[in-house]
Amino acid sequence: MTEILRVEGLQKRFGGIVVSDNVHLTIGAGEILGLIGPNGAGKTSLFNLISGVLRPDAGSIYLRGQKIDNAPLYKRARMGIARTWQNMLLFRTMTVMDNLLVGPRDYPGESIVRLTFGRAHVRSAEAAMKGRAMSILARMGLEQTAGSAVVDLPFGQQKLIGLARTLMNDGDLLLLDEPMAGVEGAAYETMQRVVRQEAEAGRAVCVVEHNVSFIRDLCSRGIFMAQGKILQDGTVEELISSAVLTELYFGV
């Protein structure tokens, strides 16, 4: 399995609170890693450290073997780290299609120089992007929503649009922050199918999720975190059957 992401000795604290305590982690291509743990365990913070929203106090992050510690958030996205957000952060004033069209890493239409002197190139790039956006929406059964205002969609579909926008990045690493929170019914099935397809296409996927059955259905491997530490790394079955974790997580 090709290694996509490697995290070494990641350390981050906010005052007295340690959100990342000597975290080591690797994710390979095609793997779906489940990240579980109680609230405040440092799961989202780990995503923030990997994607570049936060800078670690110590430790290193490698993408495809290349050290990316000094790259800011936007450059890491261009390298292929694509993430979703717990509260989606959709572009609220825009349509579904326009939300997706901000997703790609290459966007000649957003350069004033290209807009002025390379209109033909911009037009063809825009057309290609729209085609890709429609095919992603079609995979989710949402192609008819393309022209709708994103805020008019039901919650579950908004979650899917958040994922769709991230897929436009076409990156090697997908970080999904609670994709299932508040999602049920058809959107649940779709989410699971699309995430699995993405992994089969060779992406490394890491999912933070409280929905244990989603993790069990989807993930080959799981990591349990609490207080910024990785307490256990193994198969999902091992994690769920571990007495310590059950007590910490479920309080039983």
Binding site: K75, W85, L89, L90, L115, N169
Partner: protein
């Protein structure tokens, strides 16, 4: 006739100011109040070049005014946008007042008395109409350029940045450089307007670029419709035409001056309550 031409030229120049301010504030979401100081930078740069180098071509001097305003805007943006968007409001106010003090206290700018005797490049009876054509074309060009920027892919990116800057950045966009570009374009246009102003009126004084000027341009943008392409045009026309219309009433000056202030204030209040999206705006704009 001359009087009407002068009003029309003022409208064209203020259209550039309001439209470019709207690009920065309404579309870019960059809360600055310092727009008149970039107008001033353009006016003084072009005016000083014209006074000190009478042979220099006017168009080059106006372009120089535009460039100087752009450089000044990048200096302000690069230093204050880095921390957080909200600091721009304070930093821009300080920048405006500081630079105005500098202009007032330097000798070569004419000090508080202003810069006068800017040579008139165009002479003769057609001077007014010629300036009107130039300023009108410049205003139309600015509105056209802004429309091209805010529609299409670039405008989409600007909206996305304003809606959710974090998500926008995490999709691989450099929000900081985009803000600086928007700011520089808007302020450059204001600088160009300043150059035109200096050449037509042949006189610039520091007082016309103070915070009251900021309020006037802001009123134009809010009244016309913030975040709309044509709103600032409507706003500029209204705010410059209304005071002129009042003068036709032949009221004594003692009533006139406060009257204008009262009317502007009532207009802003009425719009804030009844039509917050402005005249051209169709829906409430979430900022």
């Amino acid at each position: 006739m001359d009087y009407l031409v002068t009003i029309a030229i003022s409208i064209a120049i203020y259209t550039i100011l309001a439209a470019s301010y709207n690009l920065v504030l309404g579309y870019g979401g960059l809360s600055t109040v310092a727009h008149p100081i970039f107008f001033a930078v353009g006016a003084y740069t072009a005016g000083l070049l014209a006074v000190n180098y009478p042979e220099s071509p006017a168009i080059a001097n106006v372009v120089a005014g535009m460039a100087a305003a752009m450089v000044a805007s990048v200096l302000l943006a690069a230093s204050s946008l880095r921390v957080s968007g909200d600091y721009l409001l304070i930093a821009s106010l300080g920048f405006q007042l500081g630079l105005l003090q500098l202009i007032k206290n330097l000798e070569f700018t004419g000090g508080p008395g202003g810069l006068s005797a800017i040579p008139s490049t165009i002479v003769g009876p057609m001077r007014g109409p010629a300036f009107l054509a130039i300023c009108g074309l410049a205003a139309a060009a600015c509105v056209f350029i802004i429309r091209a920027i805010v529609n299409g892919p670039y405008g989409r990116a600007i909206s996305a940045m304003r809606d959710e800057e974090l998500a926008f950045t995490a999709l691989g966009r450099n929000a900081m450089s985009m803000k600086i570009v928007i700011f520089a374009i808007g302020c450059g246009m204001a600088g160009g307007a300043g150059g035109l102003y200096a050449y037509y009126f042949q006189y610039v004084s520091p007082d016309q670029f103070d915070v009251l000027a900021s309020a006037a341009i802001l009123t134009m943008v809010v009244l016309g419709g913030m975040g709309t392409v044509y709103g600032p045009v409507v706003g500029a026309i209204l705010l410059l035409a209304i005071p002129q219309a009042i003068t036709f009433l032949q009221l004594p000056p003692a009533i006139m001056a406060p009257m204008q202030g009262i009317i502007f204030t009532l207009l802003v209040l009425a719009f804030l309550f009844l039509r917050p999206a402005g005249i051209v705006g169709t829906k409430g704009r979430p900022i």
